[in-house]
């Protein structure tokens, strides 16, 4: 395919594509400023995009690629449901049915046709994650739901605004079915406002430039994104890469992907994934495809206009009745942050493995992260009102390491988290700490980003208690994974400590920052509803980034700096990084470091593993000598999980830490947790 712009002058093309991008940006800002829930106002857990008359993506907004793709299905669904003569100028539609286009019911799409001189020329669409949808559990994520009917209101497409007039009866009917009509009302209103922005800006552009020119710009944008993406894909050697992930909660659900790269096409094949669950972690097919689309957007397409051209070279295979293609009426309410982020991880992991095979693309690697563990509370606030609130911790995950630099500490999966003071002002909780977790980052030549750990307790809750929901990517491997010998990051956890001494500690004028001192009965939470009582403490640690490259090759000065900053312990510096610090000066002791690194490196220690872990990563080649798995005949050695870091203790008894060494050059090829069962 010709990658050059055709049939339109490049200057006009640049000006108009910039304008379209500005429109989606302004739609997003409008959502952010006028939304109700913290997802929208703080986390950028929203999407704003423009579509062509047939529902294809014209210009994707900057956030949440999975919803860009799903909203395309939503537009198509509206086109199918409403005859053309019932779609009027200034109509606004609402849809949140996961069996049509949405991912789960909390994700509400608002869609508006855009007309020019009476002709439908485009669509705009937004999504926000509303604060409540009247599901079993407050806030939407419902661990006890076993079918879609337990999961709240489900709208297959309805007119919220007709010919510019808000249908107040419809609006009230919808908000009336939620626990927080005021806030959900704001959520709906911000979506209407953002679609109005799109309409006004596009109207101006159509008046100024005419529909023919805009249509040819749209065609060219899509055509050339597709052409370049195909060319990029084609520049890789054909190959196959696989990855697996298990969600471990009350049950274990396994997901698997194989990426097949053939010519200029990519096939994500989820064959081998477990059957769908009775718990709402299942994804509809379009959701699975959407997460794959999003993974491609942030890797191969990061610098191109984002539109339907990205979808064309992709194929997604997801067998029906599995976690990744749920059959009606399976439950879905917790799916985005569980299987959804799981697929995000799987797709990104296989793409990263593919990038690693290409000189030009290796620098773009970010080690993949199965991140996101979060909670919600509900109950009566200190102001005597019922409230539901999201703890929004997903904004503080550590990010994966890169080929040439460390991962971003608390860089976040989402945009941002409110201040502790904001939470305490609005809701009856008190934060005990909010800090970087020592030794959470996956070690490596470049280490992963640090995770944040927090603890909070009910405070001024008039009923002395709150409800709670724990959700997200549950399990012990729900964090960053290393590449090329980089280690995994510490797992993310939610631990409820019941009946603690927190008040007693603070009563003695001590800040309650030491959990041993705070005490209480510890309970690691799976997907569940829980009671959060006066005197309980909820400890949360989000995901950390995985490392890149063997930690024994990390520049000792960087390790010293991390120790000085208190984010890597001296034990880890010595045992994992092989760096010795002089006792008096805390400077690097070069000789002792050399000796230490010789002793712990080069395939020493642990026990030789009979199984070669390479079967799950056949594409991996030795970063030291470049030998492929077949050539290098890698040797596996296994260790207890804490070999990978002091926070890996929870994995004891279920996982082993496996290191694969190249038999020829002894370089560390891969360092990963493997299930003990296997």
């Amino acid at each position: 395919m010709d990658t050059r712009i055709r049939g339109i002058d490049p200057v006009t093309f640049e000006i108009l594509s910039h304008r379209l991008h500005q429109v989606t940006r302004e739609m997003g800002i409008t959502l952010e400023r006028t939304g109700g829930t913290v997802n929208t106002t703080q986390q950028r857990d929203y999407m704003a995009s423009l579509y062509r008359p047939d529902g294809e993506i014209l210009c994707a907004g900057a956030t949440l690629g999975q919803h860009v793709a799903c909203a395309s299905c939503a537009v198509k669904s509206i086109i199918k449901r409403f005859p053309p003569d019932e779609i009027f100028e200034d109509d606004v539609f609402l849809l949140n049915d996961p069996y049509l286009a949405a991912i789960h019911q909390s994700d509400v799409y608002v869609i508006a046709p855009i007309h020019h001189r009476g002709r439908l020329v485009a669509w705009s669409a937004t999504f926000v994650h509303v604060n409540d949808v009247g599901a079993m559990s407050p806030g939407g994520d419902s661990p006890d739901a076993t079918e879609i009917f337990h999961e709240g209101l489900r709208v297959p497409g309805i007119k919220l605004v007709e010919r510019g007039r808000l249908r107040q009866d419809v609006f009230d009917t919808l908000t009336n079915m939620t626990r927080q009509p005021g806030m959900v009302g704001l959520d709906f209103k911000c979506e209407i406002a953002a679609n109005n922005v799109a309409k006004a800006r596009l109207a101006e552009m159509y008046d100024h430039y005419g529909p023919e020119l805009l249509e040819s710009v749209g065609n060219e944008m899509i055509r050339y994104t597709e052409a370049i993406l195909r060319e990029r894909i084609d520049s890789f050697e054909d190959g196959e890469w696989t990855e697996e992930l298990a969600l471990e909660a009350q049950d274990t659900w396994r997901m698997k992907v194989t990426l097949r790269k053939r010519g200029d096409r990519l096939v994500f094949d989820f064959t081998g994934t477990d059957p769908q669950a009775v718990t709402g972690v299942n994804l509809p097919f379009h959701g699975t495809a959407g997460f794959c689309f999003a993974a491609v957007l942030t890797t191969l397409v990061y610098d191109l206009p984002k539109n339907h051209g990205v979808l064309r070279p992709l194929e997604v295979i997801a067998p029906e009745g599995t976690l990744v293609n749920v059959k009606y009426p399976g439950p879905v309410s917790m799916n985005t942050t569980s299987c959804g982020f799981g697929i995000g991880f799987l797709a990104s992991s296989v793409l990263m493995q593919m990038l690693g095979t290409h000189e030009r693309w290796r620098d773009e690697i970010v080690t993949p992260n199965a991140s996101h563990r979060n909670g919600k509370h509900s109950g009566i606030s200190q102001y005597g009102r019922y409230c539901v609130f999201n703890l929004a911790h997903g904004a503080m995950d550590g990010n994966g390491a890169r080929a040439y630099r460390d991962g971003i500490d608390s860089g976040g999966t989402y945009m941002s988290c409110p201040n502790a003071e904001w939470f305490e002002l609005n809701f009856p909780v008190l934060y005990l700490f909010r800090r970087h977790a020592v030794d959470s980052a996956g070690p490596g030549r470049f280490r992963g980003g640090l995770a944040v750990e927090t603890a909070h307790t009910p405070h001024d809750a008039p009923e002395g208690r709150l409800g709670g929901v724990a959700y997200g990517v549950a399990g012990l491997r729900n964090s960053g994974h290393g590449m090329y010998g980089g280690y995994p990051g510490a797992p993310s956890v939610i631990v409820l400590r019941e009946g603690t001494r927190v008040h007693e500690v603070m009563g003695r004028d001590r800040s309650a920052v030491d959990l041993d001192e705070v005490g209480g009965r510890e309970r690691v939470l799976p997907y569940c509803n829980f009671e959060f009582n006066e005197g309980d403490v909820l400890y949360m640690r989000v995901a950390s980034g995985g490392g890149y490259g063997d930690p024994l090759t990390r520049e000792p000065g960087r390790v010293r700096a991390d120790v000085a900053d208190g984010v890597v312990s001296e034990d880890a510096a010595r045992d994992i990084y092989g760096v010795a610090l002089k006792p008096e000066t805390r400077e690097v002791d070069p000789d002792a470091t050399d000796a230490l690194r010789r002793r712990v490196g080069h395939g020493n220690g642990g026990s030789v593993h009979t199984r070669s872990g390479m079967d799950s990563h056949p594409g991996t080649s030795c970063p030291g000598c470049g030998a492929t798995a077949a050539e290098s005949g890698p040797q596996a050695r296994v260790f207890p999980p804490t070999e990978a870091g002091p926070l890996m203790g929870d994995m004891e008894g279920r996982y082993l830490f496996e290191k694969l060494y190249c038999s020829s050059c002894k370089a560390l090829i891969r360092a990963d947790m493997v299930s003990e069962e296997r």
Binding site: I15, G185, K189, S410, G411, E421, F433
Partner: protein, 705 residues
């Protein structure tokens, strides 16, 4: 104004390279002095610029000028430089135990201030470098809750230990920022007393004083920035004050603040953060003043320099403020004139993507060295200035009034190799493409500054500042339907001009979240407390009675939102009646819908008041600007030549008259196409537009008339 000994108003603006001095006499005549900035001690350059102005005025020296100076205004970039180069004071931070990482975590939000093109490149993105090394952040046991109740009392022994450790690490400044100090500041005050007693030489910055607003991350960041530049700023302004006094000034220098008013030496020393970006702020406040003289209440002040294009909004005579600006990628709480900016300027580099055949301009710039290819300093990549030269807009022999000559051949060569050849275009067509794209980027930014806030750009007059601005302004204005562009006479020294028209302005505020309908007593009590402080400060600065103006406002939002809108109140400090308070709530609903579009408001969600704000102005006598009689319309006498210029309206370059600004007379009119050359910039008059020199010698471009 009586003809007294004190007949001059003086403004001195220190920039990166030059220090400008503007003097205005009692008739409003403007005289300019310039000198090189002196980074080792900026006060030397400041006095040199004053001397240069004194010479132009025919005075003996700076002592004579300062001895006859009524008011001396000043803007400095010392704080900006210290922050940008990381050469601020060694700063320690004391905070609540459990929250030492607040500054580093940044609420997970770290892409503010990152160009859009870089935000999505995950392989290269990073957080900004830590503001304070972890070793210099000390935690102390203490805790206050949202109501201001003390849950954990402060332990003096721990404070003592923390301060002693910081002192022995060589800190020059200590920032103190504790959780919920906005609800009760007693622990911060206790720490301050201990530090002041033991280590009186250490500069102290308390979050409850510098940024008394809810939100520990932003409050801490603001407090730390203030601490790290505080020692330098306070030393500098005190030294400058002393030196000016020695040289004959009767009074103290008045220092420009980022919100567009000035403060005295002591107040500036306490709130150093206020000096950040105060030079540009002076420029915007100068635009507001000029607009007032010219009876233009709605202005878009645009500034296109070498690397950055900036726009600020003046609506109904009032400058739009930003209460949560971004400073070096951190969100802070400091009131600042609101500025939207992008990387677009004369030095923006044009490039082509060989794969797509697309032409891109910016955001990278050529910088001052080597600069655009036409500077002949070794730059080979085509820039916007090179395109402007190829198109005939710039005169290679009369750039910056002839102080610099441009290399037309280099410019052509760069545009040809970088853009024309790869795209298969003529050199002129390539240059025209660069020109159109950069203009579109700038009009997109102005759209962001207006349309996104519910303003119609067509209601505004556009002011064009900056060396490159007037070459482009008529085009980016026309794209938005703006009817009039003004290139002010004082464009080249507009920051210094803004200084001399300033007032003394104090800003106060506090967070106190109240659900609507709010307790009126408490609302009035909050404002009273701020007003009392304001009156005391103004009285100390010599302002009372009629010379004082007090304006109050509230930051409001719908419940649980995080973004507020600032709602103004009736002028004065009288207690609000129930009815007036109701009126404020209604104004919020209206402002919300105006800003975010009809139908966006949702009263059912409930409203809340977040912050109380009060601005106290001590009004200074404004200088007048000299007015000239208007002569006949014929500008023929000012034609200095003709040259070939390309306009998009015409297929080919055509002979176009060139006018010398110095020879134009007020009242002269010029029909486009034409070029007006001034000593500092070039004004392009496009086909179909007209240019008029007004009574202040400003050039007004009337678009499409």
């Amino acid at each position: 104004m009586s003809v007294s000994r004190h007949r001059y108003t003086v403004g001195v603006d220190i920039g990166g390279t030059f220090t400008d001095c503007v003097t205005m006499d009692s008739r409003g005549t403007v005289t300019v002095g310039k000198s090189l900035s002196t980074p080792d001690d900026y006060s030397v350059g400041a006095l040199n610029a004053v001397r240069n102005a004194a010479e132009s005025l025919g005075l003996a020296d700076e002592t004579e000028l300062l001895g006859s100076t009524r008011l001396f205004f000043h803007a400095c970039t010392i704080g900006d430089n210290a922050l940008i180069t990381g050469s601020g004071a060694v700063t320690g931070l004391i905070t609540t135990k459990g929250f030492a990482d607040t500054l580093r975590i940044m609420r997970g939000r770290f892409t503010d201030g990152v160009p859009e093109s870089e935000i999505f490149h995950l392989a290269t993105l990073d957080k900004p470098a830590p503001m304070v090394p972890r070793a210099l952040i000390k935690e102390v046991d203490e805790r206050v809750d949202y109501k201001g109740s003390v849950l954990v009392r402060l332990d003096p022994a721990q404070v003592e230990k923390a301060v002693a450790e910081l002192e022995s690490s060589g800190v020059e400044a200590i920032a103190v920022s504790l959780i919920w100090s906005v609800a009760d500041d007693r622990h911060e005050r206790a720490i301050a007393e201990m530090v002041a007693e033991r280590y009186p030489g250490i500069f102290l910055s308390l979050s409850s004083e510098v940024a008394p607003y809810l939100g520990e991350y932003e409050r801490t960041a603001t407090t730390v920035f203030n601490a790290s530049i505080g020692p330098r700023i306070s030393t500098y302004v005190k030294r400058l004050g002393g030196r000016l006094r020695e040289t004959g000034l009767d009074g103290e220098p008045l220092i420009m603040q980022s919100y567009g008013g000035v403060l005295g030496v002591e107040a500036t020393a306490r709130n150093a953060i206020g000096t950040i970006e105060s030079g540009p702020a002076a420029g915007v406040s100068g635009s507001a003043w000029l607009g007032h003289l010219m009876d233009l209440p709605d202005i878009l002040a645009t500034d296109m320099g070498g690397t950055t294009f900036k726009v600020s909004v003046i609506r109904d005579g009032a400058i739009e403020m930003d209460y949560k600006p971004v400073l070096l990628r951190h969100q802070i709480y400091a009131t600042k004139i609101w500025v939207e900016s992008i990387g677009a300027g004369g030095g923006s580099i044009a490039w082509t993507d060989p794969k797509t055949g697309l032409l891109k301009v910016g955001p990278e710039g050529a910088g001052a060295q080597p600069g655009p290819a036409c500077y002949g300093l070794g730059g080979a990549e085509p820039t916007v200035s090179d395109a402007d030269l190829v198109l005939g807009y710039l005169n290679p022999d009369y750039f910056l009034g002839g102080r610099m000559s441009l290399d037309a051949e280099q410019a052509r060569c760069a545009v040809e190799q970088g853009v024309a050849e790869p795209l298969g275009l003529s050199v002129e067509a390539a240059a025209a493409g660069i020109y159109r794209i950069i203009n579109a980027h700038m009009s997109d930014l102005i759209r962001r500054a207006t349309v996104e806030r519910g303003y119609d750009p067509r209601d505004f007059t556009l002011f064009a500042f900056g060396g490159a601005g007037p070459v482009h302004a008529a085009r980016y204005a026309a794209e938005l339907g703006i009817k009039q562009v003004v290139v002010p006479l004082t464009a080249s020294v507009h920051s210094a001009t803004g200084l001399v028209s300033s007032d003394i302005v104090y800003q106060y505020g506090k967070s106190d979240r109240l659900l609507v309908p709010a307790d009126r007593e408490r609302v009035n009590r909050n404002f009273d407390e701020l007003a009392r402080r304001a009156r005391a400060d103004l009285a100390a600065a010599g302002f009372e009675g009629d010379g004082v103006r007090i304006e109050r406002s509230l930051d409001m939002r719908y419940r649980y939102q995080v973004h507020e809108l600032n709602v103004g109140m009736p002028e004065g400090a009288e207690p609000l009646s129930e009815q007036e308070l109701e009126g404020v709530y209604e104004r919020f609903d209206r402002l919300y819908e105006r800003t975010y579009g009809p139908g966006s408001g949702y009263r059912e969600a409930g409203k809340e008041i977040m912050n109380f704000r009060l601005t106290a102005t001590g009004m200074l006598d404004k200088p007048r600007l000299q007015r000239y009689p208007l002569s006949s319309g014929d500008a023929g006498g000012a034609v200095t030549g003709r040259r070939k210029v390309c306009f998009e309206e015409f297929e080919e370059a055509r002979e176009t008259p060139v006018y010398g600004f110095e020879s134009l007379q007020p009242g002269n009119e010029i029909a486009g196409p034409a070029v007006i050359e001034t000593p500092v910039t070039t004004i392009l008059v496009n086909p179909g537009d007209r240019a008029v020199m007004d009574e202040y010698r400003n050039i007004r471009l009337l678009i499409g008339s």
